[in-house]
């Protein structure tokens, strides 16, 4: 699970970089602040996972990622009539679901 959380950190780091570049063109720090917060949270989850713990907040974190993905998918289907794309399905659906299933397995 630690490694899958690390994969999420890598993905969020790319988004953080993009948000930082975009903030030079468009005003608003939301992307930078949001991704920094997500990375900090994931690092804490990784630290906890290294000690065999999976905090309840990890479950809510992953669930909120899933809700966000479903909203994006609904918008994509509604506006662009576009079905699921491969990479977002892996990074934003399969990855959180796998982490959640591992959390379930490790929790007493």
């Amino acid at each position: 699970m630690r490694i899958l959380l690390l994969v999420q950190v890598g993905i969020f780091f790319v988004s953080l970089l993009e948000a930082a570049v975009a903030s030079l063109l468009f005003p608003g720090p939301i992307g930078v602040v949001g991704n920094t917060f997500a990375i900090a949270a994931l690092m804490w989850f990784i630290w906890a996972a290294g000690r065999g713990r999976s905090p309840r907040s990890l479950v809510w974190f992953e669930r909120s990622l899933l809700v966000w993905f479903l909203l994006d998918t609904a918008l994509s289907l509604g506006l662009a009539h576009r079905p699921l794309e491969l990479v977002p399905t892996l990074t934003r659906l399969v990855l959180p679901l796998t982490i959640l299933s591992l959390v379930k397995r490790t929790r007493p």
Partner: protein, 384 residues
Amino acid sequence: MTSVYFHEGETAVALTDGYVGSPMYGVVSEHWIALILVGVLIAGSRLIRKRLANTAYAGLDHPHRMAFWLLLASAVVHLGLVLGHDLDGYTVLYAAGTILLAAATWLMLRGGRGWRPIVATALAVSLLAYVIAMVAGETPDQVGLATKLAELTALAILLSPRTTRTRYRLIAVNGLTIFLFLLVGVSGWIGAFSGGGGHHLGDVPTPGVLLPIGDDRDPTPAEQAAHDLIVAEVIRHSAQYADLAVAAAAGYDVSDINGSDYHAANEAFKSDDHVFDPQRPENLIYGIADSGEPVLLGVMFEMEKLRQAGPAPAGPLTVWHAHDHVCFTVTGLGPLVSPWGGCPIGHMAVPMTNEMLHIWTVPNAEEPVGELEDWERDAYLSTR
């Protein structure tokens, strides 16, 4: 299903009905066979697992079994790429990748001592080859990026120490994994932007741009005359908006002009049933000159409904475009959807916008309708 549109050896992908976009958000047709093979692998995974009962696979822990399957999937994808492409230099490289990754998979199954660094090296070579290809101008697609995601995950598993007590190695592996995600992600952007560009029919669009499907052609004399008339009329009518007070009085939002490509919208004009009316452009475009003053650069017309094709009185000289995979947040625009498939936290991805068309009032612009090159804009702003 995503289809492919070819133009002079380059590839764009039909991302949605009637439009082509960057292959980064789609699947190139030669890569479908790789996806089918992965589907076959998944379907046969139960059978394969049974056959592996007497190999070193049985002794692997769960993360390493996952690494094995990711490695095998990558080898299968590379095989699919060999089968899907005509024979050329890249096909030879795909074949070499297939052999390398298949050999690494076999080493994992054989077990024993010393397989881990060899398998990790094979994955690192495959990732590095991808990064080099992207930086050299190859455009990524969803199959390539998904395969690299699998390889990165497998590599992180293989490099990760078994115990968290080896703190320095853990920190090094974590840092390396994040660095590799950044490297592959950034190289994906480089490939996607260097492999596309232009607003003509038949061009491969850069990420974030959708063009109608069609082929470029020379304009007829009548279309050229229509183009010249439209441009002249737009320049004549919009000259008044060089004065911000006039623009504000007409309903344009010029209260916070910043940057070199500011679009001042007129919300009333966006739903007034006037389409492509030179006297009622939906947006004015300003840039801040070196003197610090806002300067009018052009106008942008916008269609009122999604998927509504803009009128093209000048044929191939009036090609409308839409935008896709744009991230929005409460404060407005953000970046494009990342190669890893998401927007920054707090953003939603808008998958498609209405069609739009720019007309530039910058004197002597190479293409008054369509795209203003950065150097043209910067040169004009520096003189004002």
